[in-house]
């Protein structure tokens, strides 16, 4: 099927250039293992060295992209500073899309997965069929199984798309509940309220 051609990628420079070109053409994050196998690179340390070289290169203020780890893969994305200019240039309004109910539902699924619809609704205090359906359609959550209780309700878990959407490399990157409490502790107490207000008004 495939012709086995001998390729010569020996030097670090060549490898760096090759990885950059792979990431440049890829629409989705590329698994590092895939590149490593192709380059017959067995040592993760060597590979990480190349990656940090790339990362350093992009630190230059003349560069408009950065190397990002997302959903377990590698990806080139634009720098944050470019956002407004890109919006103007492409005439695209790139904004966040999830509503508060959807985000609430996602937060329950991400921390309690696998979890049933009944549990989600109980925790939110309101029926959550709508947000769950919406998230299923957006592929941010999936049915990962059935709970072994009467009725065999579906269990929901987050997907790889969820990681990509929120720029996470792995689900374990989400802070623990304790860390979260510290994060929001002193800063703003009754502000959940203000936040909702400003979004409506």
């Amino acid at each position: 099927m495939k012709e086995e051609k001998e390729f010569n990628i020996e030097t670090i420079e060549q490898k760096t250039a090759f990885i950059e070109s792979v990431l440049f053409v890829s629409k989705e994050p590329v698994e590092p293992e895939k590149i490593m196998t192709f380059l017959k690179c067995k040592n993760i340390k060597d590979f990480e060295e190349i990656l940090s070289k790339l990362t350093d290169m992009y630190k230059d203020s003349e560069r408009g992209i950065v190397l990002k780890r997302s959903g377990g893969g590698l990806q080139l994305v634009t720098k944050i500073e470019m956002h407004d200019l890109l919006n103007d240039f492409f005439k695209i309004k790139k904004t966040s899309t999830l509503t508060i109910p959807s985000l609430e539902t996602l937060s329950i699924v991400s921390y309690k997965q696998p979890v049933t619809l009944a549990e989600i609704s109980r925790l939110r205090g309101v029926n959550s069929v709508g947000p769950v359906k919406n998230l299923l359609q957006k592929k941010l959550i999936k049915i990962s199984g059935r709970k072994r209780v009467p009725g065999l309700p579906a269990l929901y878990s987050t997907t790889k798309e969820f990681l990509l959407y929120f720029g996470l490399n792995d689900i374990s990157e989400l802070p623990s509940i304790e860390e979260l409490t510290e994060m929001f502790e002193e800063k703003e107490q009754p502000s959940l309220f203000k936040q909702i207000q400003s979004e409506n008004g």
Partner: protein
């Protein structure tokens, strides 16, 4: 009702927990140590200030109110000596503490979503341009089933009754489908299913497709969400492209 709309925006709550959490925060109370009487009077104030009634929302709040009253009356009565079960008060407090956590996570996700929006990826621009190329994605059996249900709903509206005594087997159907794929290259899923005479045949065809997808003989593809689904022989798709 309509003049009230503006007031709702300044005091917008989704569900009783949301309101309760707000009241607790306003009084700067620890969630684990709620003074029910204070919360109750806060809640009553809130109700007094409200003009007009939205039944579905108000019923949620009545639920909260009755829970608060129940807790209150309980605390006035002498408590039974042995009380094994989790008390209602504990239950509410636990739920509220959980809800508070969820709010924090939600805030975090919102932040992350906003941060992520600032980063542009390759696909975004092409997807938004007029002359974009469609990103063809393999779809899940979950979506396939959704299309199936929609089609069956459509069929229900048809009034013709045909009584036929033909048996359909999944094996035969699969051969038939493969034959079509062999000659035509691909199969338009919705089109094909609409063509069939009876619901029975329809069902058999659907299960045949599902089975073949599962066994990897064929793949189901969709150009984008809500587009028609087409079925290809596995491996053939790339060649055809």
């Amino acid at each position: 009702m309509y003049s009230e709309k503006y007031e709702i925006q300044t005091e917008f709550f989704e569900g009783p927990l949301d309101l309760l959490l707000y009241l607790v925060n306003k009084k700067r109370m620890n969630i684990l140590d709620i003074k029910v009487s204070e919360i109750t009077s806060e809640y009553l104030d809130y109700l007094m200030n409200k003009r007009g009634i939205n039944p579905s929302r108000e019923s949620d709040f009545l639920m909260t109110a009755s829970t608060l009253i129940y807790i209150k009356s309980r605390s006035l009565l002498p408590a039974p000596e042995i009380y094994n079960e989790e008390s209602l008060e504990d239950k509410l407090i636990n739920t509220l503490a959980e809800y508070d956590k969820i709010q924090k996570i939600t805030k975090l996700l919102k932040q992350m979503e906003n941060d992520e929006v600032l980063l542009w990826k390759r696909e975004e621009v092409s997807e938004n341009f007029e002359t974009r190329e469609f990103d063809i994605k393999e779809i899940s059996s979950f979506q396939l089933a959704e299309v199936f249900l929609n089609l069956i709903k459509k069929r229900d509206k048809e009034e013709f009754v045909n009584i036929k005594s033909r048996d359909f087997s999944i094996q035969k159907k699969q051969e038939e489908i493969l034959e079509i794929l062999e000659t035509k290259g691909y199969l338009n899923f919705s089109g094909y299913i609409e063509m069939l005479d009876s619901t029975e045949e329809f069902l058999v065809a659907f299960f045949s497709l599902l089975d073949m997808v599962k066994r990897g003989i064929i793949i189901a593809l969709q150009k984008r969400l809500f587009d028609t689904i087409s079925v290809w022989k596995n491996g053939k798709y790339k060649i055809a492209q």
